[in-house]
Amino acid sequence: MAKYQLNVNGERREVSVDPSTPLLWVLREDLKMTGTKFGCGVSACGACTVHVAGVATRSCVLPVALLGERPVVTIEAMANDPVGRAVQDAWVERDVVQCGYCQSGQIMSAVALLKQTPKPSDVNIDESLGGNLCRCATYVRIREAVHLAAQKLK
């Protein structure tokens, strides 16, 4: 067990966990923030995507001991972020979700993309979101929603 000071969504949080604990489980079980999802545990699906120092990061493979001082931003903060909000609104407008379990990760990835590439092409979207698995396969509507969000943010 070790103590870690985290900066999550702008708030200082302290946890006492085993150093090997992935950030995903620290968020979900120690901080009770379940918006970030567990899909595979090996970074293959993206359901656990958060932003660490602005970089879209798969929290299921990031042991808390390697986090350092880097700030963490999760899906729970997206409604208060202009890009996050635009993406969520586009998702709702295009009725993207089905089961919805992957969508926290999809949205976090889409936000990271739009923050770096405000006018993504189809190729940009397929490359940047190409590692986010959706078993319901809502991909066609995700692409549309990303374009819609980009338009709204112009």
Partner: protein
């Protein structure tokens, strides 16, 4: 007479040195083409992973500078050190070697020794490195050193390391550099 035999001795010494250098290069080549190194020296827009050198999962791609693309950067999963508890290797600035430093063909087959040697010794393709810089690179660069401490796989087993120890690799590189970085002739 003494002059001629001296030249012959010199020629033989040069030839021996060249042969020694080529032998040293072949040793270096076995390391470069080991999965721990060659998996990031691809000719394609994707890295490889594992000892079987299969295409990296989750459609990760090279991106404009070998560090992935927005939302799917290498650094999004590969931290500055190995994450043994989750089975993800890591090192400082984890990224793909540029295409100029590819050691495979577009069908993921390792290039022959001569081709790799040509690339490694071509300053236009090797990041402007001199022979001494190559030696220093092999001895000290962090991502090179990583190959000998590659961490654990998700199932807890340790990743395989290259066929030479790091010390042997540096020694072979030195012998090769001292021989004038000879490359095998193209067959």
């Amino acid at each position: 007479m003494a002059f001629l035999s001296g030249a012959r001795v010199e020629a033989r010494r040069v030839a021996d040195k060249r042969a020694e250098g080529l032998a040293a290069w072949e040793q270096v080549y076995t390391v470069l083409t080991h999965p721990r190194c060659i998996n990031c020296h691809t000719a394609t827009n994707y890295p490889q992973q594992g000892d079987e050198r299969r295409r990296h999962f989750a459609n990760v791609v090279r991106g404009p500078d070998g560090r992935g693309v927005p939302a799917l950067n290498c650094a999004g999963c590969h931290q500055k050190a190995n994450a043994d508890s989750t089975g993800v290797p890591g090192g400082p600035d984890w990224h793909l070697a540029p295409l100029s430093m590819r050691w495979q063909d577009e069908n993921d087959r390792p290039l022959p020794s001569a081709a790799v040697c040509q690339q490694v010794t071509d300053p236009k393709r090797n990041g402007q490195m001199s022979a001494q810089a190559l030696l220093k690179h092999n001895a000290e660069a962090e991502l090179v050193l990583w190959a000998w401490e590659p961490g654990r796989r998700p199932d807890g087993s340790e990743r395989a390391t290259p066929p030479l120890t790091h010390a042997e690799f540096v020694a072979a590189t030195r012998r090769w550099v001292e021989a004038g970085t000879p490359c095998p002739s193209v067959k």
